[in-house]
Subunit: 635 residues, 2 copies
């Protein structure tokens, strides 16, 4: 059992060899004719020449009179020339120049007199005339081969009498989803069902790269069924993507099916995520086994399929936009693989900071949150925190620079705040990550976040946040801003079937607890309560099981894999859980003094004190509000 | 007669006031529901929350056996734990975790024995399990309001059980083309017909900005007809664009029709091109009179309509990508207007050089050629050559940097060369402009072009190019490359109706000549011949009439506005003209030594000597080829 990879080939080599093998067998653009009006964004198959001149006749460029310039020679204020009505023609802008005329006199310079018209200045030949071909001459090359048609190019083609144009035919990419457990997207999947959303992600990516898409029906995990589907797709499409489910051994079906229908070239690339990719071909048709985990699949499309399409369309290589960023935390990678690490970017105090995201290949939301990608070479063990790394951007730099980086303690109110902020100011945004209150303080201290959410209870003084901030920021440089008072308690199943009243009940009844990660304020609260109630760690089953958010804890209890967990009222409410209140705590924001005056931060403080924010808190439930946005203390 | 502009308002003020007036009357995004799978690129109307967790059950993350971790505690190599077959369940990756289990042991670590399974290491609770909500927790905000849906966001929404999503409805923009002379695009327009291509340019621009389009039938220049069409469009659309023809007085119809249907706010903006714009509204529906010249229209769409759509979609302001460039030639602008100058950009010898393009508002091809736009403020008279200007990019910088800038003498072979180059190397390109041979030498000298085309005949030595180059580049630093020998002659109407044998016939018969611009090699040849044949400038009717290209001259003769002009055989052939040979001349490329080693220049030299280039020259006709690409002389 286990995978049998045929190769562990470096990506660049595999991609180049694969492309070369395909091109050698005739992987080349086909053409189709489209109306020029429908060609925007399409890539030209060959050069486009103008059929006619634009303008296609000599046209008056002004309203006035057309005449033979020679009859006006010598006209001045003192020696005006008078011409009779047979010697000129009244023309409007755009009118064709009457025969025998070679100039237009503007209507403003025309004085009507009894005999006809008086001119007080000589006209220069060809004045105020748009000459034939001023814009485009017949036979001029309007655009060379492989140019992408723009709106103004459509205008130039139509002006040049080009109504139809040969463009590169969109290649048809067939996507075959496979897997016994795979089901079409639905709102109520059963346990064990795996929602098939990869084909939707891939379709959207491929459409953006200029392809047409055909998604085949989901195929069960039977080699003959998969082989048949690949054979059909290879007959109908220009590129075939076979998308494995997530269970093991699946890739073996892919490679066998591909080897049966065509020729298997490579199985296994030295990249992570994405290593189980299968590269094969049926003559000039790429047959690609794409790994099942969405993140792996996205990487394979980006690194293998996009270069194929770029070559097909003769696109010039676009230089990735990259920035230098300081790594916010240590990043360890494998020597065996080249790794692609999705990362958040934050522009804090003039420094670009990269915070790598969850690396699970199944975590598609990491791509939604990612601002960039760190490309860690094979044979590199990673980087230390504080090292400078190159990050290729997935989002415009200007947008990243206008984003407030909030880290620290998790609360759903941060998402609501983010939404209200973007509603109030389309140029601002919030990127939040959840590292617990202590982690947040450290991030602000290291200059990696503009602010953090914190609810740290000092046991000795029974005071929130201030003692911790004083200790961590002895030289000051931070501002503590009031946010909310929130209800903490034990989340339990609806109806509280075990009659839990406090944490000691959970321990005594040997129920399954689910904890928060180290450094989380809620974990510190749990520890404080355990100490107060004399509960030993060994007595609380599940103390070591960590979730990173309140909703994460609630989801476990709702999913019946835990009986109780500490968290805030709003999370319990969202998941339909019962809630045993334990205490009210103070949740504040700690803002670095250097970030305080940023317009986006001030806008956020404004939103914090708004009526709409209070309303959202009331909807969520479990919050008490005094003066959110008020400065509690400057350090 | 003449325009009556109601205002000469600065653009920024007009755009801001106009938007504010519209927003005050309810110009605001509407929503529509679309399938999540179809939402790529759409802008969310509100925040999107996950309906379910992803994964929605605790799933095995590996193939192996699921069990209660507690039964493995204490297992080591020396103290293995043996469990019987009722104590574990075989699971594949993705399978739901059986009840009572809280860990998965990888298949590699499972040793089958007679009694069941032997384990030599303890399992940690929750190892190799993808916990409920690892990716997304139900109720998590997947995306805030106004976010643009990406492919991975589609995946996250489907994973979170979101099948339908509220997005901002695409606004419907109505475009009304007007004008008596306006006709739908066709291949054979009559003199006086004006091809209506503005609606195609505008449609493509607006679609790219997220709008749906309805193009109304062309309306004749009658106030009541135009008014009726505006009224209908205002009832059916979210934004109405009334596109005047190019004749004068048209804008008055626009303003009157807009004032009748709604409310006229501004007529006349202090910008060039684009000044005759009309801004009005019918309650919250923008009614905009767009000037008829295509370049003016494009500027008004960019400066007035795009900001409306950006507000509608709540897009964040995207910072224009700008570069600093050295102005290649003097740029004089009006104090009265803010001017938008389309410009070529060339990256030559490490310096970005801007060469402003033809400013005619009717010259749509200038937008096709433009790499960027110089925004010259009102109250600025322009800039001197050599001054540094800010240019906002219309093309990616990487592409501009990979473009060979060829200037100097015009020959259609340059376009053919450009096309063959891009076919040979998708990462290279040529941007050419025609300033005559002398102008080309000067541009290379000033470091504004990589190379120039030149055919300068030195009268005293009867030698081409070398004497001129020696004089202009006394210190050297340039390389002269052989290109072609080409036939120059007099282009005349087919059948040569006046029996022209040489230039003296044109003068003697008092026929209409059309000349090339000063500095053109062909003009210098004409002057040389006139001197030889003793023809006086005053005797050659049309000597002052200038065209910038061979095809431009040919177009005039084909259009019967001139009887003869000097030019190359290929231009005459293209236009079906007769050709009276005058001489064969030597057309070379002069390359700056600093550019010589650039891979793209070397690639071009390679293409120059290729069989395909010879073939194209033969197709064009009138060329004799010896060793194109050979170095003639290093200076």
């Amino acid at each position: 059992m286990g995978y049998q990879y045929l190769s562990n080939l470096p990506l660049d080599q595999a991609a180049a060899d694969y492309l070369a093998a395909l091109v050698a067998d005739g992987f080349i653009a086909q053409k189709e004719q489209v109306a020029a009006t429908e060609a925007c964004g399409r890539v030209l198959y060959g050069p486009v020449y103008a059929n006619i001149c634009a303008p296609h006749y000599n046209a008056a460029a002004m309203d006035g009179i057309a005449l033979d310039a020679a009859i006006t020679f010598g006209a001045t204020e003192t020696t005006p020339v008078i011409i009779n009505d047979s010697q000129y023609w009244v023309v409007d802008t755009g009118d064709p120049l009457p025969e025998g005329c070679d100039a237009v006199v503007m209507v403003e310079d025309v004085v009507r007199v009894a005999e006809g018209v008086k001119l007080v200045a000589a006209a220069a030949p060809w004045q105020h005339i748009r000459q034939i071909g001023e814009d485009i001459c017949a036979s001029d090359m309007i655009l060379p081969a492989y140019a992408t048609v723009t709106p103004s190019a459509i205008g130039a083609m139509l002006a040049g009498g080009v109504l139809e144009v040969d463009v590169i035919k969109k290649p048809l990419v067939g996507i075959i989803p496979t897997g016994d457990e795979i089901i079409a997207p639905c709102a109520n999947p059963e346990p064990g069902d795996i929602i098939e959303f990869n084909s939707s992600i891939f379709s959207a990516m491929l459409k953006g790269w200029g392809a047409d898409i055909k998604v085949y029906p989901i195929v069960k995990d039977k080699l003959d069924l998969i082989t048949n589907s690949v054979r059909q797709a290879a007959a109908e499409c220009d590129i075939v993507l076979l998308n494995a489910g997530s269970s093991a051994g699946r890739e073996d079906y892919s490679s066998q099916a591909i080897a049966t229908v065509g020729e298997l070239l490579y199985h296994g690339l030295a990249i992570k995520p994405g290593k189980p990719a299968v590269l094969g071909k049926a003559k000039a048709i790429p047959l690609i086994g794409v790994p099942g985990y969405p993140v792996s699949g996205i990487i394979i499309l980006d690194q293998i399929v996009k270069p194929l399409l770029d070559r097909y369309f003769h696109c010039s290589d676009v230089d990735d936009q990259t920035v230098d960023a300081v790594l916010g935390k240590r990043l360890t990678t494998s020597l065996k693989y080249r790794e692609f690490i999705r990362t958040r970017l934050g522009y804090v105090n003039g420094k670009m900071v990269a915070t790598p995201l969850n690396r699970g290949a199944g975590v598609v939301s990491s791509f939604v949150k990612a601002d960039g990608m760190i490309d860690v070479p094979q044979n590199c063990e990673g980087y230390e925190a504080g090292e400078s790394v190159k990050v290729s951007l997935l989002r415009p730099l200007s947008q990243i620079k206008r984003t407030i980086v909030i880290t620290g303690s998790h609360d759903p109110l941060i998402d609501e705040l983010a939404n209200l902020l973007v509603e109030a100011d389309r140029n601002a945004g919030i990127a939040s990550s959840h590292v617990g209150s202590m982690g947040g303080l450290m991030a602000v201290k290291r200059g990696e976040a503009h602010l953090c959410g914190t609810h740290l209870l000092d046991e000795s003084s029974n005071q929130y946040n201030i003692p911790y901030v004083q200790k961590q920021f002895p030289k000051g440089g931070v501002i503590l801003v009031e946010c909310v008072y929130r209800q903490q308690g034990l989340m339990v199943a609806m109806g509280n079937p075990y009659g839990i009243r406090d944490l000691s009940d959970v321990a005594r009844l040997k129920l399954d607890f689910v904890n928060r990660q180290k450094g989380a304020g809620t974990r510190i609260l749990t520890d404080y309560i355990m100490k107060q109630q004399g509960i030993d760690i060994a007595d609380l089953r599940g103390y070591q099981r960590e979730e990173f958010t309140h909703t994460g804890v609630a989801a476990q209890i709702a999913g019946k894999t835990a009986d109780a967990g500490m968290g805030i009222y709003s999370a319990a409410k969202i998941y339909g859980l019962d809630f045993v209140p334990v205490c009210e705590e103070q949740y504040d924001f700690l803002v670095s003094a250097e970030s305080w005056d940023l317009p986006m931060v001030q806008k956020m403080i404004e939103v914090l004190s708004s009526a709409s924010f209070r309303q959202r808190l009331q909807d969520l439930g479990g919050y008490r509000v005094e003066n959110p946005g008020r400065i509690r203390c400057r350090f």
